[in-house]
Amino acid sequence: MDKAAASKEIRNIFSAYKKLTPTDRKILNGLKKGKLYELYVLSWVVRDLAKRGFILTFNGTSLQFKGSPGKIKNSEPHFQITSPNATAPPLYLFVDIEFDTLGSTYVGVSDMGRLVPHGSQDHREFLLIELKRPSLSIGRKELDQLEDYVNSILAQPDFVNTSNNWNFYLVTSEYDDVVKERITQENRAAGLFIDKPNHKVWVKSWAELLREAEGRLKFVQDQLRIEVSTDEIEKRIAELKASVLKSEALDLGEGSAEMTENGTQGGRKRSSKAGNQPPSPPP
């Protein structure tokens, strides 16, 4: 085969493919979203389960792949799987594998999101993390999208006039110089893109996150690496022991040489404790 023949063959292949490309935009969209690949994977999962002795039945008439997040509902088509172990409860296999994440309960759709516990029942702390695919280097466009996203979440009726604090994180492999300039401003923590009283928006690369985590880990390790000599340990045990015995003696009212000498009979410590008690009722 020479170059001209190979070149002609490449053109022929693509010409044939273009003629067969579906014209239905919705089918094209489904293919772009990898739905046929999901079906292919599903078919192997079904086969493997059957080969392991599970019995599969399909509840419904059509498999339905979804193009956007949706809830798993028993009323929708799914596989029911009976275990070879007859006593085990049945299993269910749904194909709408896209589902709401924890944070989406509150804010719609995100890669990862969670409600952070807070002491006050009236206040809510939210942490939302948006993960970008590794091959994407984010720029002004993605930053603008993030800002729109944040604003739309904050404008949700559920969050207007309520006490909330938000931390949004956009995590990416790399970002361009425009983004770098906007997240490295004087008197601000590195990576902080928006800093408002009730919300902060951060842009971090995986490398930065890992580096920071390593730094925190090292700090904790350093704090735990306390070298104490045997003498020091024994001295501290003796002090602790003495203080425990002393307070026990005080509580029991047995008194000690020191207290007897001071004539306090229970001493200042006891009196301070007694001082917190209500006065005795009159006789």
Partner: protein, 143 residues
């Protein structure tokens, strides 16, 4: 064919891939290997790169091919009691509260996906022919 010929074919293939929306497959950064001596990532040699790109295009076709659909459905039906699903629908919007009525009744059926097996056979044949080519002559070619 020499390396220059293969590079010209790669350029031709990149153009075609971009035209069908497969820009990721056209990106040469996806066709590298790690140099064991230097630890650096290097582009595959032109012939190997061309073959790798054609393989990637075959995978691209596979997830758009009606025969993949039929094989998957046949496998599911074979291992499901009672025959399995009759159809496979793609719902562009998941939640019926958001989905318009028209959308609900106008869901595409993945069985309408065209059969690309002939195109894929041509790709496989081209790969075979390129593989059987003698080792490429050095760039410039003349001895």
């Amino acid at each position: 064919m020499d390396d220059d010929d293969f590079l010209a074919l790669i350029a031709e293939l990149e153009t075609q891939l971009l035209e069908v929306g497969a820009s990721e497959l056209a990106d040469e950064n996806n066709y590298t290997h790690r140099d064991e001596n230097t630890g650096e990532d290097r582009l595959l040699e032109p012939r190997e790169r061309l073959i790798a790109m054609l393989h990637a295009f075959d995978r691209f076709l596979a997830v758009r091919d009606g025969s993949t659909f039929r094989n998957a459905m046949s496998r599911i039906r074979q291992y499901t009691n009672g025959g399995g699903p009759e159809r496979v629908l793609f719902l562009p919007v998941a939640d019926e509260s958001v989905r318009g009525e028209r959308d609900f009744y106008d869901v595409p059926d993945l069985s309408d996906v065209p059969d690309l097996s002939q195109v894929r056979r041509s790709v496989a044949l081209l790969i075979e022919q390129l593989r059987s080519e003698p080792e490429p002559r050095p760039r410039g070619g003349a001895l």
